[in-house]
Symmetry: C2
Subunit: 488 residues, 2 copies
């Protein structure tokens, strides 16, 4: 049972859901998370599906070093700012036992040059591309890396903000600006479709205002999703890096006309933060709700009093087999350690989309009870019909979860032109507020100080967004609305 | 083309093959490797197949932190020794720009307690198991982790010994000694079968002599394979950890009789070193030879003069489709950048098992030429027969590669009782030498000093190995033969 309710304390509810569903926990070392088997299998499914999409669109995986030397990181002057907030610096390479068999650093092992655990890999990768790229024939390079990264976070939250996180980071090199921008946008669309089709999360695509773009990029594209508490969560970014890294690392190619040019670049990534987005988008006061397409267990079968009637086990196993053969991730929980009631609660907390319980009644009437986690509805289905009904129901649940999130997002997305109304909305219900902004960092900061809302992005609404107006704060000229929201 | 020959300079031949086949390269930061897309896709195939086997045998994946605090690492007193040789110590968590926009460490950001990048994860995992295990009902725990680890290596070689490496590390917890030993042995068998069936590498299973066991274990099981230069390579280890870690972290469980007991443990792993084993087992003076089952490209189709005859592209694509539909990893290289001759050489260096070339002759005679990389044999096959012939040939190649490695290993495995003969063999041909040993570390060290050979393992030969004799060096009593070899 989850003790906290979303409306009473969203933050404590979130933590309790993560812990009780056994997705993850903190390790005791500040900000470092342990992803438990249930959470990791969710990550594996996300990873597998996104990886397939990236491969189909021509991207290959590779692996670059965890540790980057200080001098390499210093090359791109703006990029350095990423690390000044916090990163892990390796200074020594040996430890020794003291008399009490405790470890101390071997002070003689100080490195000539400190190494930094990658917070992101642009610098080491562009140092490598320098060796790989000579001619237009070597382009494009479309690489992706699945791995870990470390950014020293002061205030950490499971999945949302952790010192170490798992992610994919794509790094591409192109012969033209146009091609690189197309790539950055293509990836943004891939992320958008993935959020919708797999995670059942509607997102808004946009561009970060100049003061919030990734250090070292020319344009940062992002997708933002609205959580149940009316706050925004950035769930993916795709950067057009211009020629910033090719200039920093002197990476030129000979073009088709025999002339040397600097290479154009993109980088993009999504992380284990996606799991935080799934939890906060869909779950309810009873626990997780996981969209079927990415749910580690899609159907849980629970026997009731199987000791009394041997047919119960038999039927359960038959249904397990039918569904498994259909390619549905099905688990039959026949352990005797816990009561059926305990199991009902456990898999509700874990957000398993469908529960099938099988007891005397099911045997007698040759019908089984099917419970769906998203709506708590139960239906009786004849056993012969299970293999058709369950896949269809999984699709229905996926759609329903998405629609719910979409409706919530629509209801909480408002155009506002009055600053008092704006303040009230942000304070009371949150949401995405579309308002005019004068384009200055100063106004952005003042609005943030007064309301805690920040500019999430300048939405890419296929031109519809281009509209003259006056900044909601300063009254100065503005030519488009931007999205304001409190955020994670 | 590979310039070095195996017989002239095995070590330089190895490096050249790794670099020219584009598997990997060094990053410029000492000992840190870049795994290029071709090498990484080989690793992905290895990982996928081993992961399936581990999941089918009840193991689940999870993820534990990259950084471990000094005090946690100090808990198991023997285990500490792993780190004294070299590891990466994180001491600060902030950097700043100086006036010249260069990075320097922010000396104010010194950590209260240093963190060490995991060289292996027993300590952090057993600290966690302390929270997870109360009763026999919580056991066994069968977890595995895919990730990176860092051990500071002084002399590094691509794949074989790198400061950062990728691996899987399994960590299990059991209610009884018997069960834990069975688990450690089960994993050793899984590794053995995997080496044989996927990597086409015959191995010898054994136990490490006490002085070489993993620090913190009671028994270290290992598999050793013989490379083409007569040196041994340890390619996997599985440790029975006894109660060492449960005692260090005070992890007890209530058994079925209501009494508290310390938990029993195993840990086991294989790493990107496996790729080094594959290269050194099978490849020849022309480049890589990769066993078909794990080859990223199983069949390469190369068109010849496709500009002249439109039917060449058409037929190539047809064959690509036929093979792809059969589930065979097939690539059609129709780029115009390189000549067919260049491509022939390129995919030979890359060790692609089968090459199909299609030109005017193939169109005319409705037969295509199939070239196998392992034996350089060519056959002409009618187009209709391709879909049956290719899968069979892939199997044949897999078997042939294994047999070759098996015969080589058999020929280089000798029982010797005369120390002069022993010294000559080690010096001239290398190989696995089965000789009696008196069981002392001193004798082991003296033999190593005089011959460079070490005791690789005490082989597990189902009892056959129990045989009384005299130590080949000291003449003292011995009750079994052990395997001596030079090694990587």
């Amino acid at each position: 049972m989850i003790n906290y309710k979303r409306k009473d304390n969203y933050s404590k509810w979130y933590n309790e859901v993560v812990i009780k569903s056994k997705l993850a926990e903190f390790s005791g070392i500040k900000g470092l998370m342990i992803i438990r088997p249930y959470g990791y299998s969710l990550w594996e499914i996300i990873k597998y599906n996104l990886d397939q999409i990236l491969k189909k669109t021509g991207h290959n995986n590779a692996y670059f070093p965890l540790l980057i030397s200080k001098s390499i990181l210093s090359k791109e002057k703006e990029h350095i700012d990423i690390f000044s907030d916090g990163c892990a610096v390796v200074t020594h390479n040996r430890i020794k036992k003291n008399k009490n068999e405790q470890i101390t650093i071997d002070t003689k092992s100080k490195l000539k040059e400190e190494l930094i655990i990658r917070p992101t890999s642009e610098s080491i990768i562009w140092k490598t591309y320098k060796r790989w790229i000579q001619s237009y024939r070597d382009l494009p390079i479309l690489l992706n890396q699945w791995g870990n990264a470390v950014r020293w976070e002061m205030r950490t939250r499971l999945f949302l903000r952790t010192t170490e996180f798992l992610w994919q980071e794509g790094h591409t090199a192109h012969a033209s600006k146009k091609e690189a921008i197309l790539e950055a946008k293509k990836i943004l669309n891939i992320y958008t479709d993935f959020a919708k089709n797999f995670m059942a999360i509607p997102v808004i695509k946009g561009i970060k205002p100049h003061m919030d773009k990734f250090h070292g990029s020319d344009i940062t594209y992002c997708i933002e999703a609205l959580m149940q508490d009316g706050k925004a969560l950035q769930i993916g970014t795709s950067h057009f890096l211009g020629q910033n890294f090719s200039k920093a690392f002197n990476v030129k190619f000979v073009n088709k006309n025999g002339k040397k040019e600097y290479v154009w670049a993109t980088s993009w990534g999504v992380s284990t933060r996606l799991i935080g987005a799934i939890i906060m988008s869909h779950s309810d006061d009873k626990g997780l709700i996981i969209p079927p397409k990415i749910s580690p267990i899609q159907v849980i079968i629970i026997p009731i009093n199987k000791q009394k009637n041997i047919l119960i086990s038999k039927l359960s196993k038959k249904i397990l087999q039918i569904l498994t053969e259909k390619g549905i991730r099905t688990k039959y929980d026949d352990t005797d350690i816990h009561t059926p009631g305990w199991k009902f609660n456990e898999y509700e907390i874990k957000g398993v989309p469908i529960r099938i319980s099988i007891g005397d009644n099911e045997i007698k009437h040759e019908k089984i009870e099917i419970f769906r986690r998203d709506t708590y509805e139960k239906v009786l289905i004849s056993i012969d019909n299970v293999n058709n009904f369950v896949p269809k129901l999984l699709n229905d649940i996926q759609e329903n979860i998405y629609k719910k999130a979409l409706n919530r997002t629509k209801n909480l997305t408002l155009k506002l032109d009055n600053y008092n109304e704006f303040k009230n909305k942000i304070k009371n219900s949150g949401g995405f507020i579309l308002s005019h902004w004068d384009g200055t960092e100063k106004t952005g900061k003042q609005i943030q100080e007064e309301t805690e809302a920040t500019i999430r992005c300048i939405p890419l609404l296929s031109g519809k967004n281009k509209q003259n107006g006056k900044c909601i704060y300063s009254g100065k000229k503005s030519n488009c609305r931007v999205i304001f929201s409190k955020s994670y």
